[in-house]
Symmetry: C2
Subunit: 280 residues, 2 copies
């Protein structure tokens, strides 16, 4: 079994894949989020894993858009605690650091620590592990990277400041995507749906009422614009429960009486929160 | 009167300022969104204008965060139709274009047109007008920019492809911010609030019910994570009506019975949709 993930070896997405599927499964790296959706949709790899939301920086909206465009299903989720390390090549130190490479989300998550650097010193890369690889490959002596402890191990880097994230509860939610629907059942299930409604007063209230009337807990609601129709919205909603239960079936059938578009994205076991383990 | 806007001369934010306040008012450019919030909050300029939402690409989430952090009020809004022009220095043409400079949002809004270019050819700038200025200042012969028609005029550029945006209804909503609250009243008012709730089942449903029960139309709801408390959310909500009306007052007082945090961001006339006029 293979799992496509965005980024280089040592990326947080790879750690999430290993924690979710186990260390023995092969995780294959792809440069961009888009590539992961592509290789899963065209059948090259059975599973993909993508970050969808960070407790500090919020949702990764382009991945909501691509989830819908790709037609893939959500078959699982995992919450990964994120710690950021400031690292340099062996033999270098903090004093010689003239610039820092990382992903813009990592810069945002370490904003307080980074106050001692000027904005021009922070150089954006499309993922954190790629930033480390660049410093390693080019043997840069005056450049640091912000990335995971796994990247420290994989690229044999030296940590000069550890756990520099502002928010010590910093957690990222990853979704597992596949062409096939999830078949696993568990005690605690979650269902993700997407829908749009005519722009009538109180439409969202009516949509939420189909869940409230049945004591179904909502986990999250996210709105994204419908591309072709000005300021109209698609709503992405997660609720607690298995789509195969009677109460969930009734709720979504009630919902479809008032939606202009509806799709079930997946019904899957609620994810664990894990502190990743690092290894050679 | 002066209005602070993000970006260089010719930026869409400057066009929005001129359409909102009139051509005679002085619009002053600042490099980043953050700077605009800062110079209005510290009293250097009475007004600022910032983009908050695009009909195609969605909300600009960092500006929601900064709106709350800055403590500023929303005193107005305007919707600007956005057209993108591909431009080069005089005497250059499409054949010689090896790379394109622009803001990532502009690239996203012209995705279909840009399919003929490779990802490596698209270079991100912090605003569209800055991209044009760079090409002009450095007299680049092999580089194009995507920006507004106003930038074409201001920097005396040559348009090689006109209106290259994918979505012909492409519109951006701008907010006017100030230290003072808006005093203007009009027939059609809108009120923006932000609140959080204890994570109890159906909490959002209850919040929306205070508006639905009073036939108050909701315009928009946006969720952002509360930085320090894991996956808990702040809700940004716009509803139709003047905060000084009895029905609005009752609704928000009812809302505050169930919120853990509440702030009114502003109550202001509903904005017009304008097709910007360009001039020397």
């Amino acid at each position: 079994m293979t799992i496509a993930f965005p980024g280089e070896r040592g990326a947080f997405s790879e750690l999430a894949a290993k924690e979710y599927f186990g260390k023995k499964q092969r995780a294959i790296s792809f440069p961009e989020f888009e590539d992961v959706f592509k290789v899963v949709a065209n059948g090259t790899h059975p599973f993909g894993i993508i970050p969808i939301e960070n407790s500090f920086a919020g949702s990764i909206y382009q991945n909501y858009d691509m989830l819908l465009e790709s037609g893939l299903n959500i078959t699982g989720e995992i919450y990964l605690k994120i710690n950021h390390q400031l690292m340099v090549n062996q033999g270098c130190d903090l004093k010689s650091v003239k610039r820092i490479y990382s992903h813009p989300q990592a810069f945002a998550q370490c904003k307080n620590y980074l106050k001692k650097f000027r904005k021009e010193q922070l150089i954006a890369f499309s993922n954190t592990a790629l930033a480390v690889k660049k410093i390693k490959d080019d043997q840069l002596r005056d450049t640091a990277a912000i990335a995971s402890m796994q990247a420290v191990i994989d690229y044999d880097m030296k940590v000069i400041e550890s756990n520099i994230e502002d928010n010590k509860g910093n957690t990222t939610r990853f979704l597992v995507v596949s062409k096939k629907e999830n078949k696993t059942r568990s005690e605690q299930m979650k269902t993700s749906i997407v829908f749009s409604m005519k722009n009538i007063p109180g439409a969202l209230f009516k949509a939420l009422s189909v869940f409230a009337l049945r004591d179904i807990d909502l986990d999250k609601i996210e709105s994204r614009p419908v591309n072709t129709r000005g300021f109209q919205y698609l709503f992405y909603l997660d609720f607690k429960g298995d789509i195969r239960s009677t109460v969930s079936k009734n709720a979504v059938s009630h919902l479809q009486e008032i939606t202009t578009f509806y799709r079930m994205l997946g019904s899957y076991p609620i994810g664990r929160v894990v502190q990743p383990k690092y290894s050679k």
